[in-house]
């Protein structure tokens, strides 16, 4: 039989064009992502040195990882600190942004201005500002750590007297002292929650009111389940954002090793470990939160 071109339907032909539309991304991914990642793996197990007309790599096995974990004085500390502070921040940021979104959803005078102000941190967080602020005299005087520590101790005593579990008290104190950071991270989650709250059909609320539900019940039975998909989105978003946000000590340490001291191999090895940590944490979190999300079908 004579060989013919395989016949494809019009729909299939149409769909093949999809590859054309996506092609810039495929090209870009291979060139600017995949290849660098492979190279990063190579760098992590070698030592980089510059030669007159390029660079040279010397294979050193797992020595870079060994160096990072055992010899380097600050890495372990920064690593644990950063990861712990991110994990601590996530619930605080979620609670705070949900609360603020609920507030901003109600109608009151000056609501537009309030919304505009809450979104300001996105525009104000520039890496440069943070760098300069840390050594700036005025900024430090406004922080006034001693006052904060003192009042924190007083509040802690008060809460202890109320015989709340100690872990929760500690958590609340830590969260309260990093309020500026929480506010900064909440800007976009607030918007996402706000959008979600606004998409809840109002007839559900009417129904609930007619049936005689209290505000508390309405919140837990109507608002919360419908907004829960966004909870997952926000948790994932906050986690990703805080891992690469400016002001992250581990990130700046890794950069300083590469550009400041010139030991590229160790720097890449560290960021590899960091990436693995992020991946694992993200998987665990999205799995845990994803189980309890309600989807409207």
């Amino acid at each position: 039989m004579k060989w013919r071109w395989p016949r494809i339907s019009l729909t299939q032909k149409h769909n093949l064009y999809g590859y054309l539309w996506i092609s810039p991304f495929i090209v870009g991914f291979i060139l600017f992502f995949f290849a660098p990642m492979l190279q990063a793996f190579r760098f992590a197990v070698s030592e980089l040195s510059f030669t007159p007309d390029g660079y040279a790599l010397k294979y050193v096995g797992l020595k870079n990882f060994e160096y990072a974990l055992t010899v380097d004085p600050e890495f372990n500390q920064h690593f644990v600190e950063t990861i712990v502070s991110i994990l601590v921040n996530i619930p605080a940021v979620i609670l705070f942004s949900f609360f603020v979104a609920t507030l901003l959803n109600q109608s009151f005078r000056g609501r537009t201005i309030a919304r505009a102000i809450f979104f300001l941190p996105v525009v104000l967080t520039a890496g440069v500002l943070h760098e300069l602020e840390v050594e700036d005299l005025m900024y430090l005087t406004t922080q006034d750590k001693d006052k904060v520590m003192l009042s924190a101790a007083v509040v802690r005593e008060f809460l202890l007297d109320m015989s709340l579990p100690k872990a929760i008290i500690d958590y609340v104190i830590i969260a309260a002292s990093s309020i500026p950071q929480i506010i900064e991270y909440s800007a976009i989650p607030i918007l996402i929650f706000l959008a979600g709250l606004q998409s809840v059909p109002s007839d559900l609320y009417e129904c609930a009111k007619i049936e005689g539900a209290t505000g508390w019940e309405i919140f837990w039975k109507v608002t919360f389940p419908l907004v829960s998909p966004l909870l997952l989105t926000n948790v994932v978003f906050i986690t990703i954002y805080s891992f690469t946000a400016p002001g992250n000590t581990l990130v700046s340490y890794i950069s300083s090793l590469a550009w400041g001291r010139g030991i590229f191999g160790v720097s890449v090895a560290m960021s590899l470990m960091y990436f693995l940590a992020i991946g694992v944490i993200l998987l665990i979190i999205s799995f845990v939160v994803g189980r309890s999300v309600v989807y409207m079908e």
Binding site: Y17, L103, A126, T142, L272, G279
Partner: protein, 306 residues
């Protein structure tokens, strides 16, 4: 008390609590900016003086203006700002175009491996930039078209090229997010729109350009706004790929102190730094003030919700 009075009282007390909360939180957010602005109108002696917190004792407008002019001079303000504006504009427009095109591809076409490729898009968001930035830097430093060009290679550091290349391929900073947003939006639009165009004989690209894109203007605005702000504030990627290139505003701010003698007092230093910071914030704040309405409404339109 009858029910009506009770509910009215509850409403009013809630309004008060809410008002206090909102005003308090807004103050927390705006406070740093206010501190910066007020620091710039003080003199050295005012900062020494602990009783002065907001309003300086000896305020003279001409001195403040002269001070600002001097800092602007040292920061090369007008040139850096112009550079930043042009740079951010060009790059965000490129990112906008490529991300909408790629997002449209993912939304409207059903080809093998689509799920995997989209997972790769999300993957680009997860990888910490530190990991790939070193190989990328070396790539751009000794750029030889990936082995096709022999002999040394070009140095692309300090030019627009690294940014253009990553922007046009949808692999720049946080472009994965933009692609995601674009895809969600296009998915929500009825197919009848393009189908009517196809019936009338339009090509795929024409249907996209003349019908889908105008419908997607809100989304394009969102992507453009976020991309512009992030590109403007970025010191990470620009710090690595723009070294030795044209001066950009964040770097002019960083280098401000180097123009001053090392022996000036910490108080004077703080005035200078804060002036620089205020000058740095002004353009982006103006931008935000005029367009904040679109920012705030924007997320509702991304289709991430519902």
């Amino acid at each position: 008390m009858n029910v009506f009075l009770k509910t009215r009282l509850a409403e009013i007390s809630w309004s008060i609590v809410r008002g206090v909360l909102i005003v308090g939180l807004c103050f927390l957010i705006v406070h740093p900016v206010l501190v910066k602005v007020f620091t710039t109108i003080m003199t050295e002696t005012d900062i020494f003086d602990r009783t002065v917190q907001w309003v300086p004792r000896n305020f003279s407008l001409s001195r403040v203006i002269k001070h600002y002019a001097e800092v602007m001079q040292n920061m090369d303000y007008w040139r850096s700002t112009l550079n930043s504006v042009v740079f951010s504009l060009v790059i965000s427009v490129c990112q906008l175009l490529s991300c909408t095109i790629i997002g449209y591809g993912f939304a409207r076409f059903d080809f093998k491996g689509k799920g995997l490729l989209f997972a790769l898009v999300i993957f680009t968001l997860l990888v910490p930039p530190q990991m790939i930035v070193i190989p990328l830097f070396l790539n751009f430093r000794y750029f030889d078209f990936f082995g096709l060009l022999k002999g040394g290679g070009y140095n692309l550091i300090g030019t627009y090229w690294p940014f253009l290349l990553t922007a046009l391929t949808g692999t720049g900073a946080r472009n994965g997010l933009f692609i995601f947003i674009a895809r969600q939006h296009f998915r929500g639009m009825p197919r009848a729109l393009e189908e009517s165009a196809y019936i009338d004989g339009a090509s795929q690209f024409r249907a996209f350009w003349e019908i889908m894109l105008p419908c997607a203007t809100p989304i394009m605005l969102v992507i453009f706004l976020f991309s512009f702000v992030w590109q403007w504030n970025d010191v990470f990627y620009t710090g690595i790929f723009m070294r030795g290139g044209m001066p950009l505003l964040p770097f002019s701010l960083r280098n401000l102190m180097s123009k001053y003698h090392w022996s000036i007092s910490a108080e004077y230093k703080t005035i200078v730094n804060n002036t620089g910071m205020v000058l740095f914030l002004v353009p982006i704040l103006l931008f935000y003030v005029f367009l904040q309405r679109y920012f705030v409404e924007s997320v509702e339109r991304t289709g991430i919700v519902g």
